[in-house]
């Protein structure tokens, strides 16, 4: 490599370098006046995607205006972490049983979804609730039937 070639490269590098620096600064300046894209969390709340897994909750069906839980206990039996307890009730003898209380201990739930898959009445789904922080471990135990009443 002769000297004049090296010098040419040196000058060329300075000019191409300065050009790319100016282009870069133009890009950041343009971005500075674009609208912000972040969600201001406590002020604005994002809506979760349909596949988000919050704690499980009962679906409200149109025919009964309530859940279809029959308190069969399959979810409680299939749960690998043993966090579900279902309490059923019959109004009169010979009638169908229906779910009265449905406790889950969310602090131990691994959100595997086996209860949703196994439910014969297809009355369970994942909620889009994401603010699931508690002050005490007993606050993590929730009755999803009670939450259903609150949602109605």
């Amino acid at each position: 490599m002769n000297t004049s070639y090296g010098f040419k490269q040196y000058v060329k590098e300075i000019f191409t370098g300065s050009k790319s620096l100016i282009i870069g600064m133009g890009i950041t300046l343009k971005h500075m006046f674009k609208p912000i894209v972040t969600v201001q969390y406590p002020r604005q709340k994002p809506i979760m995607t349909p596949h988000f897994r919050g704690h499980i909750e009962a679906i409200i069906f149109d025919d009964t205006k309530s859940h279809h839980c029959v308190a069969c206990g399959l979810c409680a039996r299939t749960c690998p972490s043993h966090v579900i307890k279902v309490q059923g009730e019959k109004t009169k003898a010979g009638d169908r049983k229906y779910g009265k209380q449905y406790f889950i201990d969310f602090t131990k739930c691994s959100l595997c979804g086996l209860c949703v898959d196994v439910c014969p009445e297809k009355t369970l789904k994942f909620s889009d609730e994401y603010e699931l922080a508690f002050y005490s471990r007993w606050d993590g135990v929730m009755d999803i039937m009670q939450r259903l009443e609150e949602r109605k």
Binding site: H31, P35, I36
Partner: protein
């Protein structure tokens, strides 16, 4: 600093002489201005960074988060100041005290407007260069005294960097000084009443801005406190208000470097419609904004790139620029 506007103070303290009065009042104003300015610049920095990254930046304290850095200062004052066991105690204590000296002293000679200058010195520019080198000393002291490998590496880098970048900085300043034939800051500004030096000396101006960015240890030349390599460089071991003093010195150094660039290249207080101080402050804050903008655009240089850039690019170009300036001045 007009004496006739302060008749009562003149009656009481007149026997001390106008120079002393101007000095005392001016220094008090500087002592008020320096912390407020750095709090404001921290907020500006965070806001600009946020908007460049498409997020809003601080929003909670005050309208658009403008009081955020004041609250942070209160927090830092309340924090415990930890001294490491194996630190060199006197030096460790002294470094943050020394780092604020240039931040305050350099304001003495900056001409904000024809009358707003605390002290007119014939060697104003030399004074600023001399005192800004003290910040390098305090970085070295802080890095050495912390007895921490990251601090020490940061300090070593600071020394190498400031030696390399002071040469082109002085050379580019020299070409302006040759043109106006004076080290007086007000003289240099009044020479630019018709044409700014930026138009006559664009190369020197750009080199000056690059080198002052490097001298104030700002990105992309922030190898001194490279977060991803050196925790936070020379002030890794500093906590609470001592850390805040280093921060204050950094942001004040930014403002002083921008003021120097305004004085040398951007016509100082000259400008239409408004009075001198307004123009000076506007120009200085615009240059500060440019430094912040540069920081959030470019990635950090590697150390060999940093040294190559200084010795192989900036110094030859600034020498050539000085030579051409000298010849042109002599011939014309």
């Amino acid at each position: 600093m007009n004496m006739t506007q302060l008749p009562i103070i003149k009656d009481i303290y007149g026997f001390l002489g106008p120079d002393l009065l101007v000095g005392v009042v001016g220094l008090l104003l500087v002592l008020i201005f320096v912390p407020l300015n750095s709090a404001f610049l921290v907020w500006v920095e965070r806001k600009v960074a946020g908007h460049i990254q498409l997020r809003p930046g601080p929003m909670e304290v005050g309208p658009h988060g403008i009081l955020q850095s004041l609250i942070d200062a209160v927090k830092l004052m309340c924090k415990e100041m930890i001294t490491p066991d194996l630190a060199d105690k006197p030096l460790f204590w002294m470094a943050p005290c020394i780092v604020v000296i240039p931040a305050i002293v350099c304001f003495v000679v900056i001409p904000f407007s024809p009358v707003m200058q605390i002290r007119e010195l014939n060697v104003g520019i030399l004074l600023i260069f001399a005192f800004s080198s003290i910040s390098g000393l305090s970085i070295m002291m802080g890095g050495w005294a912390s007895n921490n490998k990251y601090s020490l590496i940061g300090a070593v880098r600071a020394v190498a960097q400031s030696i390399a970048y002071e040469i082109p900085l002085l050379l580019s300043t020299m070409s302006v000084i040759i043109m106006s034939n004076s080290f007086k800051m007000s003289q240099i500004v009044s020479d630019q009443s018709t044409v700014w030096n930026f138009i006559l000396q664009p190369v020197a101006a750009i080199i000056f801005i690059i080198c002052s960015t490097a001298e104030t240890n700002r990105a992309p030349f922030d190898l001194v406190e490279a977060e991803s390599e050196l925790v936070s460089g020379f002030h890794t071991e500093y906590t609470g208000m001592r850390d805040a003093l280093f921060f204050m010195a950094e942001y004040t150094a930014m403002f002083i470097a921008s003021s120097m660039a305004v004085v040398l290249f951007f016509g100082g207080w000259h400008g239409p419609f408004f009075s001198g101080i307004v123009w000076f402050v506007l120009k200085a804050y615009f240059l500060v904004f440019v430094t912040v903008w540069i920081r959030w655009t470019f990635p950090r240089l590697r150390f060999d790139q940093l040294m190559n850039f200084a010795w192989k690019v900036l110094i030859p170009i600034s020498l050539l620029n000085l030579l051409v300036t000298a010849i042109v001045i002599k011939v014309l």
